[in-house]
Amino acid sequence: MDAPWIAELRALLGPRGIVEDPTRLFPYEADGIVLLRRRPELVLLPRTTEQVSRALKILHRERVPVVARGAGTGLSGGATPVEGGVVVSLARMRDVLELDAVDRTARVQAGLVNIDLSLACSKHQLFYAPDPSSQQACTLGGNIAENSGGPHCFRYGNTTQHVLGLVIVLEDGTVLDLSEPRVDPLGYDLVGLFVGSEGMFGIATELVLKLLPKPATTETLLAIFESLDAACDATSDLIRARHEPSAIEILDKLTIQAVEASVYAAGYPKTAEAVLLLDIEGSEVEVANTVAGIEPLVRARGAIEVRTAKTELERKQLWAGRKGAFGAMGRIAPDLYVADVCVPRTKLRELVAHTTRIAREKNLKLATVFHAGDGNLHPNIAYDRRDADEVRRVLEAGDEIMHLCIEAGGSLSGEHGVGLEKMKAMEWLFTREDLATMCRVREAWDPDRRMNPGKLIPIRACLETKQAVFRPEHATGAAKARDER
């Protein structure tokens, strides 16, 4: 396509700031969930807030749908392109703009990769707390859009608790500067509202984030179990006893085996049914006391071995193994479906039993990792997207797991967002009124519903009269199959 507005964008962004070649557009089809695919019309790679603003003005004038994209590691199709839409990628906006070690804040561009912020402030003995397992790749802007969590969010809270201010470009190109003052917001908390908006309220271009002092001591403890249930029970026990690790993670056997076969091999015993991985932070005395308190508890639940990392390197490896778990599953099958459900902690065991049963019934390979402290579990189902029947079974299993989770008083997503993938399930959890309210909030930010259209809120539920931009008949085969059910 060669419309004048494209020429305008070209002039604005320069040759490396715009992707037009269909072959180069092809890999933008999907984010972390490759079941949902669509080639975008164009991809823009701006460098500054100013460029984003001017680009959005043009797209507003031309009524072109816009999908923001960070690193494309999202697992719910948030960054999947939409019909006739342009993708605005933040991948070239990755500068640390300011770092204030005394105020303990950082102002960064939204495309900065999560781990690069912690690396940048590490020399001041500071770190950025939310640590999604994808932190080597995902952008801070993406984290904000999804309100991402991570193992250590058990102690520190999800992304929303670490965002102090934002610069947002609205759908018509207006720049909304919510980055000053950095004290408690007066009036409506627009920053708080924006976090978790999945790219539908505008594009965040600059972020002011909270940094924390590194803990004086961190001890990493690995407990090895002969049963997954025992590991779940141990988690409840230690929380009941008011021991407060900063992270509580569980990996099951298949996950352990995949990790141990990868470059992130961490020394988890391959024969264990489950491992419980804990980080304990604080002063030396505090840490020593907590470790001493936890050990007998986990042993009482049948841990056959409990060990602490001897060196910083070993500690890092234990965590790198956990964080490589998703990718390591690539050794088991070409694709991975990551469910992301959340239940009250005490129901973990029950839900695990159900997911195992479902996987068995549907003849699927299931590997589960848990942010056990938060009651958030990721039943990971390995599959091959070329096998239509397997895809169908995977999606059915995903639905069943979500239903069970709702029954158990849980939520549809712990941290990965709704996107396209869980949109339909929103109706299972929310009433029409709930959804209509969400819809009205959304329209306050984006009256034309042009930002990331057709995601998060089911169209019917939203009583939308205007023509939806995303039409299921254009979706990929798999998504279509799902929609038909």
């Binding site: 999907a30 494309g72 690069d116 690539g330």
Partner: protein, 461 residues
């Protein structure tokens, strides 16, 4: 374009290993430059899969450009939890791509001369480097360089050809100093003797200092690494077989094949992968396996075999502050990171500091710096800032391509840092340790072997 099954154009099953997690994006040099998904490992694999599944034509020029833009630094392999064998996939994709497009005749000719004639042939290589040296000294190069279009600058920046005296081949055999603890062979390489004869000498000298006699492999010149990386798999296979045959003849007196010590990370990584390269030729499989088990990087071997009483030392003024830059094909290709650092730490009097982002590619990438000079420079650029931050006086590397890239880059910017191979540091430190022994040395000085003449003698073959 041929009507071949598109699945044969790439390693289709290998592409399925990628689970699309994105963990490889941030460390990929070409993604860092562009932020473009298609120029990332995940994107390139997606494109390959697209070719195999018929969504992208095998002769699509953009696809080819993305294949060529890749440095094959294999950083993505070091971070990929799914164990994607990216280097291997790239070699195959480039090889098939080479067959599916017609290159301009000048390029085809240049490739034929380079890969087919010069690299594998010691005499032609020598003659070409003579010619280059002459052109550099006489100023002829300045005049003809514009004929090479976009490659003009790269050609002009090429490091000065060393004087003839430094372009010696190694002695056929060099004895160990003191008591002989074993015997090894050394790969002399194709470009090494011409541009880095001194590194080869230092390699042998270090091995000798730690008690190993070394032998060289006659006229054998090229292992085929550059061929494989640049989509000339047939040529690579032929050279691999030559190499295997040549080194099979090198055994100890009781018939045990000798270890093959390699001071070029790219060659070592490639030779360790011969079994895969020759996997489809059953009659070669076992031989390739046996051979690859004999291959050791210089640092790997020295770190493992240096005796406890080897105490290399330098006067602090010799190298000043040193820093080590990991060659991609050592850290990512062979997963060797510790041995070079351990060895530097072992040198008494040497001040070693870590180089930030030492595992990032320097942009040399075999012949990449010639093929895509401006991309190569762009990849190199941030390395300079990292180096400046260390305030090092000497940069240590372990691969000839990186060595030249650093030489050229430092020349361009006027930064006063000396570039040396790890072997040069260790040889010098062994030498200084001998001349200023802390305690009476147990080792007797060995007689220096007579250097071999350039024309390999018939009997060596």
């Amino acid at each position: 374009m041929s009507l071949a099954d598109p699945k044969t154009l790439v390693e289709y099953t290998a592409t399925l290993d990628c689970i699309h997690c994105g963990l490889c994006l941030r460390t990929c040099p070409t993604f860092q430059l562009t932020g473009n998904e298609a120029s990332s490992p995940r994107g390139r694999i997606y494109l390959m899969r697209g070719v195999a599944e018929g969504q992208i034509a095998g002769d699509d020029p953009t696809y080819h450009d993305e294949l060529e833009f890749c440095l094959v630094c294999r950083n993505c392999e070091s971070v990929c939890p799914a164990g994607v064998r990216f280097g291997e996939m790239m070699e195959v994709a480039r090889d098939r791509a080479a067959n599916s497009v017609k290159r301009p005749w000048s390029e085809a000719l240049a490739r034929w001369i380079g890969f087919g004639l010069v690299l594998p042939n010691r005499a032609l290589m020598r003659w070409s480097i003579d010619l280059l040296g002459f052109a550099q000294r006489s100023g002829l190069l300045r005049r003809v360089a514009p004929l090479f279009g976009a490659r003009k600058d790269a050609l002009l920046a090429f490091p000065a050809v060393p004087p003839k005296s430094e372009r010696e081949l190694l002695p056929i055999r060099t004895p160990a100093r003191g008591e002989e603890r074993g015997e090894v062979t050394v790969l002399e390489g194709c470009v090494m003797p011409e541009m880095f004869g001194r590194v080869n000498l230092a390699t042998v000298e270090t091995l000798s200092a730690i008690g190993f006699a070394t032998r060289t492999c006659g006229s054998h010149a090229c292992c085929g690494a550059l061929h494989a990386h640049n989509g000339e798999l047939d040529g690579a296979r032929a050279l691999a077989k030559n190499t295997i045959v040549a080194f099979e003849g090198l055994t100890s007196s009781d018939g045990v094949p000798l270890p093959v010590i390699v001071n070029s990370a790219g060659c070592g990584a490639h030779m360790k992968e011969y079994p895969r390269l020759l996997a489809e030729e059953p009659e070669w499989r076992a031989r390739a396996q046996a051979f690859s088990k004999r291959v050791f990087d210089f640092s790997e071997f020295v770190a493992a075999h240096a005796p406890a009483d080897w105490a290399p030392r330098v006067d602090p003024g010799t190298f000043g502050r040193v820093t080590y830059d990991d060659p991609c094909h050592l850290c990512h290709g062979q997963q060797i990171r510790k041995p070079p650092r351990e060895l530097l730490k072992r040198v008494h009097g040497l001040q070693h500091v870590e180089l930030p982002h030492s595992e990032q590619c320097c942009g040399s990438a075999g012949i990449y710096s010639m093929l895509r000079p401006s991309d190569s420079n762009a990849v190199f650029e941030p390395k300079l800032a990292d180096l400046a931050e260390t305030r090092a006086d000497t940069l240590v590397t372990a691969n000839p391509g990186c060595h030249m890239q650093w030489d050229m880059g430092l020349d361009r910017t006027g930064l006063d840092v000396r570039v040396v191979h790890l072997a040069e540091v260790l040889a010098e430190a062994s030498r200084q340790a001998r001349s200023t022994p802390t305690e009476p040395s147990k080792h007797e000085p060995a007689e220096l072997a007579t250097p071999r003449l350039h024309e390999p003698k018939a009997e060596v073959r």
